[in-house]
Structures are given as structure tokens and as C-alpha cells.
Symmetry: C2
Subunit: 261 residues, 2 copies
């Protein structure tokens, strides 16, 4: 029964009731999907500061109060412990397990960060008639570690991770215009054209996600990617960290347009 | 010798050496001036979260590491303990004293927040041929508490404080366009036209700053104001808080244009 017009509240309730544990692309089209990061309060200032210093990969949409599991700003009434399809649990930077409910892991000192995701600007690209190759090919977007360093804090540092979408040369400028508006969903590209200039040696071997077809004459265009937050967390090795599983996002009540200038 | 083209570094050194303790409007024109808030680390996450939730009154430009007094992002080499002309010290929400050097108050658990200021967009307004009445009348900008509540955190809450600039009706739309770009310097107006709609009963009696002339047919236009951070701090009554003295800002190495989309 799920389709593009299923309301976010309904999707969250299906997750909560154990009836939905699949990836979320294409669900509740037009509503903002978000990355989730949960950390102990002892790291909350540092992580918020890392996001504030690196707003392109880490655009903050909501941060819960200490111990609170309701993202009051982007989805009042939601419960981030149950309302995502799947979660990953990390201890000291090591992946421990994947789960569909983090209530057993919840503690009164945890803080949840909800971070913008590229789905918002991809919808805008599609609405503008621009190619989004991994959607055309029904794949995950290809993602690469770059040689661009995020501005670090004492605890958190990471290379910038980028996603790549190849575009016909005559669509590149329009893609910059369209995505620039979505500053809370990674915004404008960080690089256009030369992968080696940002430390990517082989587009056919992404560090995350799937390789996609690049047709003759197409230009690879690179956007900051929310996976950067996960890299930063793994480097910091917190005693506990919880994230969404890749592609299994939190679906908020915000509309995509609310992430624009 | 000070004038509009004095370099920020020179101004900061004059402050550091005790040779400048006057207001900073008009100095180092084109360089970003910033509000300063210093708080203990125990409140740093909550305050950063308050700013993140209320980016129009509280656009964060830089946050120092715990105990560090160098704003590495906006002015490498600067020392926020000495490089502003004047500071105000608050204990438990009470004003204690004004000083030109906060070294005696510095502690290893303090965090400094540097926050965008309206001077940046006022320069842009002047460059666009728009009226900035308090500059024309050589006064401080009029500021008012509104009935708009900021999004609170557990510790910090405040009514939104706004600054007001009256404009001829045919300049209002252009003023929105020009200031909107400066999203890290309060950005677009929060209200146009009807002071009572936002809880302001008498424009001639500002809560802070000076009343300015409003000519027949002019429209009052209201922008979010950095004084909101000070109201939030006074309400939270932290055991120690340090701010710049009104109008005595930190002058960074950033150019105004860096605060735009």
C-alpha cells in the first residue's frame, strides 16, 4: 500500500509497529528525509560544532534535548527510537549490529541529531528535468572519500565524503542553480568536472554505494554527502553511537521547500 | 589615524594594546564585525543549540574550542580576551562591570561564540542606495522586544529582539532582496509594516538604542537582532557570561560578502 503519496506520519507508524523495515527513497515524495546520528551528551557540543563548521555535508535540521527522543521541530510526536526502518549500532567506532528498534539502547544522556539528505535536492533536480543517473539505473548513489578535509573540532575530523551525479554538459549550470537553493540539503555542488582534483582516482570504484554509467561527454558533478558524519563518528570512536542504516531514513513532516533559501 | 580602511588586524592590535576602546561602526568597512558571547562549557551545547534553532537572530560565525581564545576560523591569531574595545561581565544574570580586557576573567572551561551583526547588511544597503536612517542621523539603531518567541532549549529562551529601519515604500522590496543574501548577518526582515502585529506599541520608545525619524509614508522594516542572544543569556542566569559592550564589536578577517548565499 506504500507509495509516493503515503504521509510521513503513516510511514513512521508503520516503522514503529514493525511493519516497515525497507529503504525509504521514493516514499512520501516531497517530504524531507533525514540522516540520524545519536551520541552521548558528553560529545554533543563537539558534534554540533562539527556540523556547524561543516554545514554542507552536515546541515542540521533538528537536535533533541538531552534524553528526549522526540524531534519536536521537524516531526512533533515522532519517536526517533522506533520511527526509522533500520538502525546501526556502533561501540567505540566498531559496528555491532543492525536493528529496527533502538529502545533497548536508549539512555537518558543521549542526544539525537537529524541531518539533511540529498533526496530533497534530487526531487528538485527531477522536477527541473535534470538527470539523476542512479535513480534512472535504480541504484544507490555513488559516494567517494575526497582529499578535502572538513574543518575539525578537538574530537571530530573527517575527509569530506561526496556523492556524484553525472550530467550532460548543458545541464550542469542549471543543476548548480537548482541545488544551491537547498542549503539545508547539502546545497550547491562542491566540485565539478575533475575527480582527481579532489582525490578521487577511479569513479568506477566508489567508496560507498554503486558505480553508475557516465556517458560520453557527461560531466561528473560532486555534492557534499551526509556519510561524512558517519566517517567523523567512526574516527572519534565514541563509546556508543547510533545511526540510521544507509537509505533507511527518518521521514519528517517538513516539505522539501522548507530547506531552501 | 583610524578610518574606514584601517585593517582588522591593526584595529585588533590597537584594542589589545589598550589604544582603542570606542565603538566600532564605520571601522574596517567591508569586514565582518561580530557579536561576542562567552559562556562556561557546561552551557555551551545548549547555547549552540539555541543559536542553531534561531539562526536569524543568532547566526554563528565561529565558536572557539573549550578554553581557547583564538577564533581560528574568522580571525586566526586573534585573541578574543583583548581584541575587542569593550566587554561586559555578567554573573548570575546581573551586570557586574564593563572592562577593556577579560584576561582576568578567563578560565579553561570557557567557550566563545562569535555571532553575525547587522553592520554587514547595512553596508550592502548603503551600496544599493537604500536609506539606513540611524546612520544618516548618527544614532544607534532602534531595537525592540517583540511578542515573537524564539524556539527555546531547556536552558535558553527569549523573545525575539528586532532592529528597525524605516524605508520609503519604494525601497522596501529592494531592501528584502539585498539583505536576504546576508543569511549569516540576520538575513531578510522578519516583519514589514505593522509594529503592533509583533507586539511593538510605540516606535518612539525602543527597548534598546535610539529612536529615529520616520517620515510620512515610510514603512518600518524589522530585522532579527543579535541582542536576542543577550536577552537569552540574562534569562538563563549563568554563573558567568561575558559579552561585547553594545557597538564595541569584534572585527574579523572575513569580508561581508562571505556571509551571503
Amino acid at each position: 500500500m506504500l507509495n509516493v503519496s503515503t504521509h510521513p506520519l503513516e510511514i513512521r507508524q508503520l516503522c514503529r509497529n514493525g511493519k516497515l523495515d525497507t529503504p525509504t527513497p521514493g516514499l512520501a515524495l516531497g517530504f524531507v528525509q533525514a540522516n540520524l546520528v545519536v551520541l552521548p551528551y558528553s560529545l554533543a557540543f563537539e558534534f554540533l560544532l562539527f556540523c556547524q563548521r561543516n554545514p554542507k555535508p552536515c546541515p542540521i535540521l533538528d537536535v533533541t534535548e538531552v534524553g528526549d527522543f522526540e524531534p519536536k521541530i521537524i516531526a512533533p510526536g515522532a519517536d526517533i527510537r522506533t520511527d526509522l526502518p533500520r538502525y546501526k549500532i556502533f561501540r567505540h567506532g566498531e559496528f555491532i549490529e543492525e536493528t529496527t528498534d533502538i529502545k533497548p539502547f536508549w539512555r537518558s544522556d543521549l542526544v539525537a541529531f537529524l541531518i539533511g539528505c540529498s533526496f530533497s535536492f534530487e526531487n528538485a533536480m527531477l522536477n527541473s528535468g535534470l538527470s539523476v543517473r542512479h535513480i534512472e539505473e535504480n541504484k544507490n548513489v555513488p559516494m567517494y572519500k575526497t582529499n578535502i578535509q572538513c574543518i575539525p573540532t578537538q574530537t571530530f575530523s573527517s575527509p569530506l565524503v561526496v556523492s556524484m551525479r553525472p550530467l550532460p554538459a548543458n545541464q550542469v549550470v542549471r543543476a548548480v542553480e537548482v541545488t544551491s537553493r537547498y542549503y539545508k540539503a547539502h546545497g550547491s555542488p562542491v566540485h565539478i568536472g575533475n575527480p582527481e582534483a579532489i582525490g578521487i582516482s577511479n569513479l568506477e570504484k566508489p567508496d560507498y554505494g554503486d558505480a553508475v554509467t557516465i556517458n560520453h561527454g557527461e560531466i561528473p558533478v560532486f555534492w557534499a554527502c551526509g556519510v561524512t558524519t558517519q566517517t567523523a563518528i567512526l574516527q572519534a570512536k565514541p563509546e556508543l553511537a547510533i545511526t540510521h542504516s544507509p537509505g533507511h531514513m527518518f521521514i519528517s513532516d517538513l516539505q522539501d521547500e522548507s530547506l531552501t533559501f
